[in-house]
Amino acid sequence: MDIVTTIKIAGFAVILAGMVLCLIIMRSDYYSPVYKRIAPLTFLVLPVLVIVLGNYHVFEGSQKVSSCLRCHVMAPMAMDMINPESTTLAARHYKNRWIAKKQCFTCHKDYGLNGTIKAKLDGFRHLVKYSLGSYTLPVRFRGRFNNQNCLECHRGTQKFEGIKSHHTLRERLESNKTNCTHCHGFPHPNPIERHHGEAQTVSLK
């Protein structure tokens, strides 16, 4: 059983426990010793536990490709990635299992539980914009891609180290001054090539 499912079950168990305890409290007298013992657990410990588990579930769950596919703004990127005919960098990494799981997350590690506060704020901004529909298509990446997401896997490999300019550009690559995408292109289809491909989206969900 993977960690997301475990947390999901644990979360449901805590919620169920909370509901049972609420029921007990409702039927008990305010001044009874049972109320005094159960109330802090029901109104403080369990809610905090639910919040922690819930958030952890969201963070962990959002690392799955299926989670990215649920947002129709991201769907064209994910759709392209799972398309075996596509030759984009993302699709080749997916098709060849160069990244075996959590394919979106592996290259976009700015989010997740270990991500920075800024990444959380970014995520919140995206969530709000998506929920309110206050964005315009085509969505374009405005920031700087973090080369570490590539270098973590490629650094030290024979193929990477065999390219002389990777050595002379190392400082620029490590500091993101020159992006990997500057030479190797964007990993996803450009705005003209993006499409949703509903059938495959559904099958992946």
Binding site: D122, V128, K164, H167, N179, P191
Partner: protein, 749 residues
């Protein structure tokens, strides 16, 4: 503060709403890590003929970042040179002021002083030697407007056809090959053909290093479809060859034998498309052969078993690739300097076209002969505008009276203004500058004192000629022979159009000011025209005005791109000609009905460059190169480029990341030859030809075929072209950089 439970809930809700609302306003919550650039502008890479689209990021009026343009044909990919474009405006050693040679030294001068000196030299030389005493040597790196204006100024204004340039050294054979076979220059195919091809035939092209973005596209195609085959022909086991399914390594100078032997196999085994040939082709042999039977006789001498040994390969290899070429669903040929820089360059180009025409591997998606271009604007800027000594704009020829008459009318000059005699081609031009036939020359955006073959002979002799060089950098070797040096603007410091391999014209807008007093080459030409009293002729004096004049000029020709207005070029990621109207989307595949607007209605294919609309299959015999191996010179030297350096390295060698990656120029020597000469890597060796010698380090590898030495020409301190032979193709006049007989000597410390 007393709050009810309801009020607490209301406040929480309003707070959440407030934060959410703020988050939707730009800048209220941080976006992803901020980019360096404030604004982004589309442009084109400064370097090779692939013509990659780039996005140029500016901050405080400076170029701070460059990345690939995801909407351009290169889909955001760049090679390592392109990825360093942002460094260009800040490179050291820029020329900031005009210089005049006084007492043997170049000293700072004002623009007026320098231009007066140049104009005086032009006037006095014209009086002394006549119009043929003047010359212009341009470049495939000038913008189209600049080449067009120079051509007009010299041919119509000064009545001088000595207009040539560095494209003569790299693309002339390809251009003449296209013209001879199809009647019009420039490839009929496009980059998109790569996605449709099932067989790639790369001959004389190290695309991995010289056209990396296109080569990656080929590799992607191969990865996408396992049936796709890559055939590579090269005397050197290049990085390109490392990806080949079939790699053939013939001796330098013998590959016309290979191409003819492939046709022999095709004829013998019934691999040719007789119907296609009958409908769309005409056969022309030197001995009068004009049909397939005659062809069969001609190619009988090229049976693989007869010629393979001379190439140092096996006959079975020839048969194998002949089948692959002919039977593939769609075969795409790509070639560059290995074919063009040859004394049989035109014949080789003709024969490559023969392979496509005889097998019907043409004018279909993926089936096309696509000549890769060396420089960023050799196609659009020089070949299309006719800025060569035998040409007039839009494919017209100086020697044809009707063509001269049309151009004279369009340029609004008196009939008879344009001289009927073609000018000196590059090799003859520098010879003429040395022997006094040419007394005054303007050189722009080119570095011939590093790139011409048999360099030492030219450099010593041209010193008596008055030479003005317009150049961005103070350390270009050509400045050594200059009497006046004019600082010129570089890349986005000026505005113009670049036209790349697949007939795509792309606009580069001016984004920053040039340093010091540097000016655009167009401004220099306009200034010169004024000083020579030709301001009326050169009335279009801005990039947009020149473009409009040239665009309207093209409407009278098969190059018609009159629909490419400046406004469209500002918006689009380039357009491919023919493009005759402002609502035409451009032409991906030329000569193909339904795509090319110039193909007559109802025709599927029409080679309309020829009067009978038929391409010509020229039967071209192999002749050995003038450089034969002997006891004195038992090896062959071949030259080329490396991934990280662009041409003579004037720009790229100043970028530390590129310079360190390429290292210094060196001799690549085959293991066997190294063993015979007792040479190891890193040792200093001397390579000597009948024309010169050069000493530098050896690099021993299994790259070059045994008997072949390779060296690159980017290093301004190690001039390999001093060793290279000056022979050239009799039709295209392109020099044979690829084959020089040499000997190898160990240098004792």
């Amino acid at each position: 503060m007393d709050l009810t439970r309801r009020e607490v809930l209301k406040l929480c809700g309003m707070g959440a709403l407030g934060v959410s609302g703020l988050a939707t306003l730009p800048g209220c919550l941080p976006s992803n890590s901020p980019a360096l650039a404030e604004t982004w502008h589309k442009g084109v890479c400064r370097f090779c003929g692939v013509g990659c689209g780039v996005m140029i990021g500016l901050r405080d009026g400076k170029v701070v970042e460059v990345k690939g343009d995801d909407l351009a044909h290169n889909k955001a990919k760049l090679c390592v040179k392109g990825s360093m474009l942002a460094e260009l405006p800040g490179l050291p050693n820029r020329l900031l002021h005009p210089l005049i040679r006084k007492n043997g030294k170049l000293t700072q001068a004002s623009w007026d002083e320098a231009m007066t000196r140049v104009a005086d030299a032009f006037q006095s030389t014209r009086q002394k030697l006549g119009p043929t005493g003047l010359a212009f040597y341009g470049s495939g790196q000038l913008y189209t407007q600049e080449s067009y204006t120079a051509n007009k100024l010299f041919k119509a204004g000064l009545k001088c056809n000595n207009v040539d340039g560095n494209p003569r050294l790299c693309m002339a054979s390809a251009a003449v090959g296209y013209v001879q076979t199809y009647g019009k220059d420039e490839p009929m195919g496009c980059y998109e053909d790569i996605e449709h091809a099932t067989c790639f035939f790369l001959i004389g092209a190290n695309a991995y290093e010289c056209h990396p973005v296109l080569f990656e596209r080929i590799l992607l195609r191969k990865r996408q479809d396992k049936r796709v085959k890559l055939i590579v022909i090269d005397p050197r086991r290049t990085k390109t060859a490392g990806y080949a399914d079939h790699f053939i390594q013939p001796l330098p100078g013998t590959d016309l034998l290979l191409l003819n032997a492939m046709i022999h196999v095709m004829l013998e085994d019934g691999l040719i498309q007789r119907d296609f040939i009958a409908e769309h082709c005409r056969i022309s042999g030197d001995g009068g052969a004009s049909d397939l039977a005659g062809s069969q006789d001609f190619y009988a001498d090229y049976a693989p078993e007869k010629v393979a040994e001379r190439m140092g390969i096996a006959p079975s290899q020839i048969r194998e690739i002949a089948y692959l070429f002919a039977r593939s669903e769609a075969t795409m040929s790509l070639w560059t300097m290995g074919i063009n820089q040859r004394t049989q360059g035109t014949y080789l180009n003709n024969t490559l076209h023969n392979l496509h025409l005889m097998t019907g591997q043409i004018c279909r998606p993926g089936a096309t002969p696509l000549s890769l271009t060396g420089q960023g604007n050799a196609c659009g800027g020089v070949r299309d505008t006719g800025t060569l000594s035998h040409l007039l704009p839009a494919g017209r020829l100086i020697k044809k009276p009707a063509h001269r008459a049309i151009v004279e009318k369009l340029w609004k000059v008196a009939p008879g203004t344009i001289s009927p005699k073609p000018g000196f081609h590059a090799m003859e031009l520098f010879k003429a500058m040395g022997d006094g036939r040419v007394g005054c020359a303007l050189i722009m955006a080119s570095n011939p004192m590093q790139t011409l073959p048999n360099l030492r002979a030219f450099r010593e002799k041209v010193k008596d000629c008055f030479i003005c060089v317009a150049e961005p950098f103070a350390d270009a070797r050509t400045l050594e022979i200059a009497d006046v040096v004019l600082p010129s603007a570089l890349w986005v410091e000026k505005e113009g159009v670049y036209g790349q391999t697949e007939r795509r014209y792309q606009l580069l807008e001016k984004l920053i000011d040039p340093p010091g007093e540097a000016r655009s080459d167009l401004d220099i030409l306009v200034d010169l025209a004024k000083r020579l009293g030709l301001a009326d002729l050169i009335s279009a004096q801005t990039p947009e005005a020149v473009w409009d004049e040239w665009r309207q000029f093209s409407a009278t020709s098969k190059y018609n791109f009159s629909g490419m207005t400046y406004d469209r070029l500002r918006k689009e990621r380039g357009l491919q000609w023919p493009c005759p109207t402002e609502d035409h989307p451009g032409t991906k595949r030329r000569f193909v009905g339904g795509d090319d607007p110039l193909v007559p209605k109802g025709k599927k294919i029409s080679f309309y460059g020829k009067p009978d609309h038929k391409a010509v299959i020229y039967l071209r015999p192999y002749e050995p190169t003038p450089e034969s191996r002997s006891k004195a010179f038992p090896l062959f030297l071949t030259t080329g480029r490396v991934l990280e350096q662009w041409h003579s390295g004037t720009i790229t060698d100043k970028v530390p990341e590129l310079s360190r990656a390429s290292g210094r120029a060196r001799f690549e020597i085959n293991l066997q030859d190294a063993h015979r000469h007792d040479i190891v890597s890193g040792q200093r060796v001397r390579v000597v030809s009948a024309f010169g010698e050069l000493t530098m380090e050896a690099f021993v590898s299994d790259g070059p075929k045994a008997g072949v030495i390779f060296a690159s020409f980017f290093d301004s301190k190690r001039l390999i072209n001093e060793v290279v032979a000056p022979h050239f193709d009799p039709f295209s006049k392109q020099p044979e950089f690829k084959v020089t007989a040499v000997r190898l000597e160990k240098v004792l410390a």
